[in-house]
């Protein structure tokens, strides 16, 4: 959480600066919206607090107020905020409450205008905005979000929220089109963009993305800041100040605004509490963004009908905060409140990846207007939902973007063209859709297709010789996610597709499913447009405006007899309520484990993160240790100290006590802490070398089956006792053989069967393997593979001898323990009639042809799906894919997250090639190759990969390219394909000829199956930058930090010079390579060493020096880091060190002792083509 610290600092600075420009510029209406958001935010935090209720009654009256009034009210609030900001936060909260009552906006105002502009306050509103724009990434602390908006606004509250949302939207509409247009909340976001800075903050993911903000720190400040800006804007209209009047006037929901403020203010107060402890001062920096997000987009319910409410809030995702454990204490009212209203699910993960990508562009220009919005999907609002004619036009008019296509199709002769890499990491290609559809389409980070233009028939697909498939990262941490609560979730009656932006509304009462083309009725509830509080605008609902939405599910979606499939014995057919979060830790305490010393670090880490474990007051935890026996721990509340129960009968494991082994975390926290403190010492004298992993897992399964949940297993050696005992299968002499690699598959199906049982009982098993010897990961990993768990592997882990692994272990644990989690999940993937799913890749159990059973779902695992085309798609011009993930949040709510991706269908081969996504294709091929190497053999898999290149190149040559030039010609869109495939062949998972330990190979294979695309691509083809001569050209300006953007270099030793310093970004690790002749200035300024010789051999940190060079290097590193969930390690490698092999093995374009160079590879491909 603390990571983004620098951002905070910078942000504060920026604030001041920014503030002036904003005021001067004219972010008129935008400001307005922004303001509203902000204002809203703060209140939200306090949900539980009384204010809400109070506000409630008032709402109706407010709803109709004249625009001017509304603005006034806003201003007032803002004003209050302002003051409060300056003052202590607590005071603010109090003030806020009163404010709403005050209706008189103006008076407070006068003060605000003056204040805001000046930098005096820690948080001039404008300033904050700017920061957000620039920083976006940093601005949003993940934790921050959560608390504010999400907190569970009770159902009652939802109505208020809705109103709030309305306000926002209202703001928006003014700018866009007619007043009638007003949008739902979501819409409002987009509007923000116009404003530029403000807008961006709120709506744009970009802003939030950065949000990575360390966590909670900034939250309070942000809120304030936000409030300020709002106030300023509001004030402006009144005063005639800069801000355009637009904002204020148009707002429909003005009346509601007041209330909104209220709520948010409440929330803010909550957040306050949480944060206050942490860092009040810094607060300003991070918060702003959050506030923006918080503004909930929609209010569906309307004031009157609480029952029908759909409160959709396009909230930022601070899921963590909501669901995650960041604010354990602050959350207090938690359970009850949450249950009532969970509308806001935002996942604000600290490290949001998205933000960054999108961010760069936006960041670059300070002018807020364009960037964020464009990318964010919300712009649509401005236009009312396309009516039929428009829509058909949109469908038909896919013509667009010929230029892009031409560019993507430029033939490139790989044998001649040497520098193929783009200067920046490759972005996902944009599907060739009409602009409206493009805007609402699902983010490529969540949902990506290998061919962004779907071939019309299987014949055409075969001709193209490219795989068709999807890469999914469904539970990714999102910055911004509309959450919808409504009684009826609108779905197609025939195929059960959730309504999405790509359906067609035939008229007001009917919609046509875009997957099966059935015409459905629009239910009455859906007719209601919360924004305008009028009937007849179903196409303005958030479900229809966002490709990614989350529903709070009703009881229809509870877990039923899922267990039947795996376990015949239980035939109950009753629904059970959502399970509480349950965590069981299974720890290896054999001699080997004690030697490695992991136990202490695990206990420390868990102790630290105990409050961050996602969950609510029902959260249950348990511990189990094992060597040759199994030890249970009785942590029942009331005991003076934990009781250890030893079961030595490992052939027939039983549970010694039924209800006291899994205990309520809240009630038994002291005992848990006791146990964690004493555990490391308890076994320090252990001499037992046997390991009964199998029985321990069986015991864990029995312990967890009543509830389901997550089992975390730590294992340090080969299991040798009881069921599931394994023998060593690896022959070290064969590690580097060129012949087939044996034993990639499991030796026993014990772990697989147990995993299926676990999956049936909704238990996910995560495996941490810390071992220096062969542990047969191929067999053990099955326990996680089929129960949708995740696998972590730390080869040669030792707490003294291997500090690098230790640090990685600790960092991973921090992330692992506090990351969001979904229980008892299933994911269904539906696609347009004619397409069908061929194969799934990832960790799960396939329950049906399109249904995955995921006992646990975590935000870091991704899935791949191979598709095939069964029927011709000729009768439609669009193909859609919908992934619906139904899960139980750690707060015990059933939720459905729906992603919908829409792609054009083409009938020309050249169009297919123009839309090919080379990264996605590489990842899908990697997954297929892994499967192949397990079912067939490694050499088969390697041949298949080479053949993929050969086939593709020949297909292109014979079908598309009319140039009869010699050489290896591929379209520009695919020019990196051979490099990527070659890199793939040199990966640990697939390489031959190089000594590779079997476990490491198997682990690399597991990684391929579960890592999201960006991470995978960095592992396959790392990014190489030169650091010692970075220029500021094209640098990003985030906040006051300049993030240089060095060019990507080809992974070849010819690009590495002795007088340089190079950064290699491998995803999970950074290598900083220092050349022998690297100038001393760089070494001194960045590494803090006097010269090359004095660099310590195992340096793994970049010191925080105050030199400009150091700052820029660290800014770059932090920026890269912010994109990923798990923080990466840093290794400084000297030119002369023996470790330089580890660096040069990533130079995949060079020849190694066992593999060919890039050029040789191309020649080999060409040779095979001519055969």
């Amino acid at each position: 959480m603390s990571a983004p610290g620098f951002t905070n600092l910078s942000s504060s600075v920026n604030y001041n600066q920014n503030s002036t420009p904003n005021g001067g510029d004219a972010p008129p209406y935008q400001n307005g919206p922004a303001q509203t958001y902000q204002s809203m935010y703060p209140p939200t935090g306090c949900y539980g607090a009384p204010p809400q209720h109070q506000s409630y009654p008032t709402i109706p009256a407010h709803s109709t107020p004249a625009p001017s009034k509304a603005s006034m009210t806003n201003s007032v609030h803002s004003a209050n905020y302002y003051q409060s900001n300056h003052q202590q936060q607590q005071q603010q909260q109090q003030q806020q409450r009163p404010v709403p009552q005050h209706h008189v906006a103006p008076s407070p105002y006068s003060a605000p205008p003056s204040q805001p502009v000046p930098s005096s306050g820690p948080v001039p509103p404008h300033a904050q905005y700017n920061q957000q724009l620039q920083h976006p990434p940093y601005a949003t602390p993940g934790s921050y979000y959560g608390p504010q908006s999400y907190h569970p606004p009770p159902a009652q509250h939802t109505s208020q929220q809705q109103q709030q949302q309305q306000q926002q939207p209202t703001l928006v509409p003014a700018p866009a089109s007619g007043p009638g247009a007003p949008l739902h909340p979501i819409v409002s976001y987009p509007s923000a963009p116009g404003n530029s800075q403000y807008g961006t903050l709120s709506s744009s993911q970009n802003n939030t993305t950065p949000g990575v903000l360390p966590t909670q720190m900034g939250a309070p400040l942000h809120q304030y800041s936000t409030s300020r800006p709002a106030s300023t804007t509001a004030a402006q209209p009144g005063y005639g100040v800069a801000p355009p009047s637009q904002l204020v006037p148009t707002v429909n929901g003005q009346g509601s605004t007041v209330h909104q403020h209220y709520d948010r203010s409440c929330q803010s107060s909550l957040s306050y509490n949480t944060y206050s402890g942490a860092e009040a001062d810094q607060l300003p920096s991070g918060t702003p963004s959050t506030s923006v997000h918080s503004s909930p987009g929609h209010h569906q319910g309307g004031d009157t009908s609480s029952s029908s409410t759909g409160s959709a809030s396009p909230v930022p995702n601070s899921y963590d905060s909501l669901e995650g454990g960041n604010f354990p204490d602050s959350m207090p009212p938690s359970n009850d409140m949450t249950n009532q209203a969970a509308p806001y699910g935002s996942y604000g993960y600290p490290n949001m990846q998205q933000g960054y990508h999108q961010g760069p562009a936006s960041h670059a220009d300070s002018s807020p207007s364009h960037d964020p919005y464009g990318q964010s999907s919300y712009q649509q609002y401005s236009q009312p939902f396309p009516n039929l004619s428009q829509l058909s036009a949109a469908l038909g008019g896919l013509s667009g973007v010929p230029e892009l296509e031409v560019e993507a199709l430029t033939p490139i002769n790989l044998l001649q063209e040497r520098s193929l890499l783009p200067p920046r990491p490759l972005e996902a290609p944009e599907p060739n859709l009409s602009p409206e559809l493009k805007k609402v389409n699902c983010s490529p980070q969540t949902f990506r297709c290998t061919l962004t233009s779907i071939p019309q028939t299987q014949t055409l697909l075969n001709k193209a010789r490219l795989p068709l498939g999807l890469l999914l990262h469904p539970f990714r941490d999102l910055q911004q996610l509309p959450v919808i609560t409504s009684n009826t979730i609108v779905r197609c009656r025939s195929c059960r597709t959730y309504i999405n932006p790509f359906v067609t509304f035939l008229d007001q009462r009917r919609w046509k499913c875009n997957l099966c083309y059935r015409v459905n009725d629009v239910p009455d509830e859906f007719m209601y447009n919360p924004v305008t509080r009028s009937y007849g605008e179903p196409h303005k609902r958030p479900e229809v405006q966002n490709a990614t939405v989350e529903f709070i599910a009703s009881s229809d979606y509870m877990v039923g007899t899922k267990r039947l499939q795996v376990n015949d014995n239980s035939t109950t057919n009753q629904l059970r309520p959502p399970q509480p979060a349950a965590y069981l830790f299974v720890l290896d305490v054999s001699h080997n484990a004690v030697e490695s010393g992991y136990l202490k670090y695990f206990c420390d880490s868990l102790m630290e993160n105990l409050d961050k474990l996602p969950g609510d007051s029902r959260t249950r935890v348990g511990f189990l240790t094992f060597d040759n026996t199994i030890h249970f721990y009785n942590l029942q509340e009331g005991l003076s100290q934990p009781q250890m129960l030893v079961v030595s009968d490992i052939d027939d494991v039983f549970i010694p006590s039924n209800d006291s082994l899994m205990v309520n975390l809240k009630e038994s926290k002291e005992l848990v802490k006791d146990l964690l403190t004493s555990l490391p010492a308890m076994f320090s004298q252990s001499r037992e070398t046997q390991s009964a992993l199998g029985p321990a897992l069986q015991a864990a399964f029995k312990l967890m089956s009543p509830t389901g949940g997550r089992i975390t297993v730590f294992q340090t050696q080969l299991p040798t006792l009881g069921a599931g005992a394994l023998q060593s299968r690896e022959d070290p002499n064969q590690r580097s053989s060129n012949k087939g690699v044996q034993h990639l598959g499991p030796a026993t199906d014990f772990y697989k069967k147990l995993a299926l049982d676990c999956s049936g009982q909704q238990i996910g098993v995560d495996l941490f393997l810390l071992s220096s010897q062969y542990t047969d990961l191929a067999s053990i990993s099955c326990i996680s593979k089929y129960s949708a768990g995740s696998i972590f592997y730390y080869p040669s882990f030792h707490f003294i001898h291997n500090p690098a692994q230790l640090e990685k272990f600790q960092r991973d644990l921090d992330r692992y323990l506090s990351r969001k989690i979904g229980f008892e999940a299933v994911m269904r993937i539906r696609c347009t009639k004619g397409l069908s799913i061929h194969t799934f890749h990832g960790n799960f159990f396939v329950r049906s042809t399109d249904l995955l059973s995921l006992a646990n779902v975590n935000p870091d695992s991704a899935f791949a799906v191979q598709m095939s085309i069964e029927d011709s798609l000729a009768d439609s011009s669009l193909a859609c894919f919908q992934a619906a993930l139904l899960y139980t949040s750690s707060k015990g709510k059933r939720r459905i997250r729906v992603h919908t991706l829409c792609l054009p269908v083409v009938n020309q081969l050249s169009d297919v090639y123009a839309g090919a996504d080379v990264q996605a294709i590489t990842c899908l091929l990697a997954n297929m190759a892994i499967d192949r190497s397990i079912t067939s053999s490694l050499s088969d898999a390697r041949d298949a990969l080479v053949n993929a290149v050969v086939d593709f190149a020949s297909a292109y040559k014979s079908n598309v390219s009319n140039l009869q030039q010699s050489g290896l010609v591929v379209p520009a869109a695919m020019c990196l394909f051979p490099i990527y495939i070659l890199a793939l062949l040199k990966q640990k998972a697939l390489r031959t000829g190089t000594s590779t330990r079997l476990d490491e190979r198997v682990f690399a294979m597991c990684e391929f199956k579960t890592q999201p695309l960006e991470q995978l691509m960095r592992m396959v083809h790392p990014d190489l930058y030169r650091l010692d001569n970075m220029s500021d050209q094209g640098a990003l300006h985030l906040n006051d930090t300049v993030v240089p953007q060095p060019h990507l270099l080809h992974l070849s030793a010819e690009n590495i010079s002795r007088d340089g310093a190079f950064l290699l970004d491998c995803g999970y690790v950074f290598y900083l390579w220092i050349g022998k002749c690297c100038n001393d200035m760089f070494i001194r300024d960045v590494l803090g060493c006097t010269n090359f010789a004095s660099i310590p051999p195992n340096m793994s940190h970049i010191p925080e020096l105050e030199t400009p060079l150091s700052q820029r290097v660290r800014a770059l590193l932090d920026w890269l880091q912010d994109n990923r969930a798990f923080s990466s390690m840093m290794h400084v490698i000297k030119d002369d060190a023996s470790t330089k092999v580890t660096f040069f093995q990533h130079m995949v374009e060079d020849r190694s002792e066992s593999a060919s160079s890039y050029h040789e590879f191309l020649q080999q491909v060409q040779q095979q083509m001519s055969k």
Partner: protein, 152 residues
């Protein structure tokens, strides 16, 4: 033809083949259900709550999949009978299938219990399609051999 051991073999084979045809049909239905499960259109409740019929269906599928081993054994059994009866032509006709069964069982996934199908991979479209095709082919083969035994 007098009532010889060979005639007895044919009669027995006839009956057993009828059983095998039954197995094959069940096999086909089972995989078809697996495949079309998701097309269950008016399944208003969520997929998480399989209705009673669904449960029954799942059981039926499981039973069908468990019939694989008996099927192989029955087939092996009357191959042995034909061998004893020195019905070389009939035996030759059956040998390819016998060999296929042996190969199929040898190359099954790692499992601790008898059975051919791994629940974790069965949903792979290739495997599913292969199994379905296998079912149809066997059905055809058994039908032909049924009439062969009947008139032979």
């Amino acid at each position: 033809m007098a009532f010889t051991f060979a005639a007895f073999c044919y009669m027995l084979a006839l009956l057993l083949t009828a059983a095998l045809i039954f197995f094959a049909i069940w096999h086909i239905i089972a995989f078809d259900e697996l495949k079309t499960d998701y097309k269950n259109p008016i399944d208003q409740c969520n997929t998480l709550n399989p209705t009673v019929e669904k449960v029954k269906k799942i059981k039926r599928v499981k039973i069908a999949l468990k019939l694989v081993l008996p099927e192989y054994l029955i087939h092996f059994f009357f191959c042995v009978m034909f061998f004893c009866a020195a019905e070389w032509l009939t035996l030759c006709l059956n040998l390819p299938l016998l060999a296929y069964h042996v190969w199929r069982y040898m190359s099954r996934p790692v499992m601790s219990c008898p059975g051919l199908y791994d629940p974790t991979t069965i949903m792979n479209a290739d495997i599913l399609a292969f199994c379905q095709k296998e079912g149809w082919c066997k059905l055809a083969f058994y039908l032909l051999s049924f009439f062969y035994y009947l008139y032979g």
